[in-house]
Amino acid sequence: MLLEVRDLHVEFHTRDGVAKAVNGVNYSVAEGETLAVLGESGSGKSVTAQAIMGILDMPPGKIRGGEIFFRDRDLLKLKPEERRRIRGQEMAMIFQDALSSLNPVLSVGQQLGEMFVVHRGMSRGDAKVKAIELMDRVRIPAARQRVGDFPHQFSGGMRQRIMIAMAMALEPSLIIADEPTTALDVTVQAQVMDLLAELQRELNMGLILITHDLGVVADVADRIAVMYAGRIVETSPVHEIYKAPAHPYTKGLLRSIPRLDQKGQELYAVKGLPPNLLHIPPGCAFHPRCPMAQAVCRTDVPPLYTVDEERRSACHFWKETLDER
């Protein structure tokens, strides 16, 4: 396994109290595999990713427990220099908002080249050649002429492709893309996702794709991890989960999206509100919104039950959920 997150706990100490953002996350990614992490705003997707990358805000954040194995080494036990090296060369992250993650006062060429100067000890001249190569590779038209342009001179889609170029520069084995296309139009989103998938195949990288778009997931993911209130509530290969979800929350999400190919009647709506992380409900965190909740759900936290070899569900009634179509 390339990456394996085990029972990760992260909390934030805020003025209002302790926000339990991540409460025992387990997931893994293999080489060449795309894992989609799905969940509503605030469910802990980004915080988990930040913990993996080692870029969590600490304080106010604090890792309360767990392990993050990357190529069989627990990242949480490594020295800061070692983590920095891994972060630069072996894993990289792509953010939703390229404009604020690129340096506005450095040209795109300088920023791309910097990677090779710092990590590969290249000369500036060689690094610039590499930068142009990379821009070509992510299909920036007229790369040679534009290598000296600044981030704001590119369109949103191009900036996102430049972010991808930066992430790919040192050919890492793991990429975490946090909502890489959420801010883009559908036609541009299609261009960017296409590029990402192609490069991933070429380099056989593991990809963690964080998103709340069930369409994007269906398009590119091999496996899915669904998060709710800082926990994984279901993991499954992509085909199975769309066919028959094993957790009521997943089921609700899938039923609540309108479809492009039909007009449809009233949408199914998951009732109620997302949980308050300062006061996560006892037992199953989803119970106040769950149509299948029973007394036991209010008291007993459901473990990640094994549905089959490849599927897990954190629901006491996963069997019933699977059966009730």
Binding site: A142, D185, G215, V238, Y242, S256, P258, L260, Q262
Partner: protein, 422 residues
């Protein structure tokens, strides 16, 4: 309305209030069945100026550049299109937040761009807007009651002072919020609840038309469904006409009777939801639809993806002829020279198929792009990737050619326009 009236009863009660108010607003005869709103040649150009002391106009951002559509009473018209195509600008002109540069907006047969004073106020009351962003469109220092009741300050005739509190509570009830929350502040509500507050405010003056600009785009999937259902219900029960703007094509299909597709300031194709989604004839609509990720992993293998190359040109420098031609894989000489009009294309004029609808393309043809439950097993052969017209894009991986057919659309425009049209 008393305290026991909750939920759906509240809505029914509200609609009586509504029809009374509307009768009062109706001043001139208006034939039933006419479109309630007719938009013709609507234009908004923002001047581009240079110089500080002596401002000199050096061009214009053609945000909206000739938009036509009708909205029937009780109908929902969806408007889709990519960022910057002018959707919000159209919305703002309809609710008088921006004056048009040209064109007419007829409300019940009367051109409202010419109105002022009392007459204008009466019209404005009947066309209300719901905004996209539930986080910034509500004043954080005002209570929910003040926010929803604010329109009554401008239109006191709708609700005399004494009755306002009750009215606001009724509205909260209608949109599914607890009427006791009337004294709370926006930050005490979630995103979905704030969007409900925005909707309640839009309903306060009992309008006939609601212009909703991306009302659910900022919301999470599960909450989005709640709000979409609410809008659906309100429309039916209040007999509202809706202009629903969004970039999510699935939601637009769900909620709309008809759909208009915008590109660079114009509507390029318009028709019923079936005509647009199942029988699109404009290449841009086809590309847009084919790019939408479908929440069904089995569709992956069978789908033909049209990957458009290049970016949308700047609205300050619109290509000559067909404005989509710099990204269109079917573009030919004629597209550079001649502006295609929004009308039923000649090829479909005599046909009885759903392809017979307005589409601004010289070479309109049907292309099935939305994967269908039934079609998935047998992908369409007739229009398959073998057809020569589809070669510049490929189904799954884009070709490495990179730039669009005309690599610098903006720059060669003028030269193209001159000899061709002059």
């Amino acid at each position: 309305m008393n305290a026991e009236d909750t939920g759906r009863e509240g809505v029914a009660g509200g609609s009586t209030l509504l029809s009374e108010a509307r009768e009062a607003g109706r001043e001139r005869p208006y034939a039933e069945g006419d479109p309630i709103l007719e938009v013709r040649g609507l234009v908004k150009h923002y001047p581009l100026t240079r110089g500080i002391l002596f401002k000199k106009q050096i061009g214009a951002v053609k945000a909206v550049d000739g938009v036509d559509f009708d909205l029937a009473a009780g109908e929902t018209l969806g408007i889709v299109g990519e960022s910057g195509c002018g959707k919000s600008t159209v919305a703002k002109m309809l609710v008088h937040l921006e004056p048009p540069t040209g064109g007419v907006i007829r409300y019940r047969g009367e051109d409202v761009t010419k109105l002022s004073g009392r007459a204008l106020r009466a019209v404005r009351r009947n066309i209300q807007m719901v905004f996209q962003d539930p986080y910034t469109s509500l004043n954080p220092r005002m209570t929910v009651g003040d926010i929803i009741g604010e329109p009554y300050e401008i239109h006191p005739e709708v609700a005399p002072k004494g009755s306002r509190r009750q009215k606001v509570q009724d509205l909260l009830d209608v949109v599914g919020l607890n009427p006791e929350y009337i004294n709370r502040y926006p930050h005490q509500f979630s995103g979905g609840q704030r969007q409900r507050i925005g909707i309640a405010r839009g309903l306060a003056l009992n309008p006939e038309i609601i212009v909703a600009d991306e009302p659910v785009s900022a919301l999470d999937v599960s909450v989005q469904a709640q709000v979409v259902n609410l809008l659906d219900r309100l429309q039916a029960e209040f007999d509202l006409s809706f202009l629903f703007i969004a970039h999510d094509l699935s939601i637009v299909r769900h909620i709309s009777d008809r759909v208009g597709v915008m590109y660079l300031g114009r509507i390029v194709e318009i028709g019923t939801d079936e005509e647009i989604y199942d029988h699109p004839t404009h290449p841009y609509t086809q590309a847009l639809l084919s790019a939408v990720p479908v929440p069904d992993p089995t569709a992956r293998e069978h789908r033909e993806r049209i990957i458009l190359h290049g970016d949308v040109p700047s609205p300050a420098n619109i290509p000559s002829g067909c404005r989509f031609r710099t990204r269109c894989w079917k573009a030919q000489e004629r597209c550079r020279l001649e502006v295609p009009l929004l009308a039923v294309p000649a090829v479909f004029r005599d046909s009885e198929t759903p392809a017979r609808h307005d589409s601004a393309c010289h070479f309109a043809e049907e292309k099935q792009v939305v994967p269908h439950e039934g079609l998935r097993e047998t992908p369409a052969e007739d229009e398959g990737p073998s057809s020569p017209s589809s070669s510049p894009f490929s189904s799954s991986s884009p070709s490495d050619e990179g730039p669009p057919p005309s690599p610098s659309p903006g720059r060669d425009d003028r030269s193209a326009e001159g000899p061709g049209l002059g």
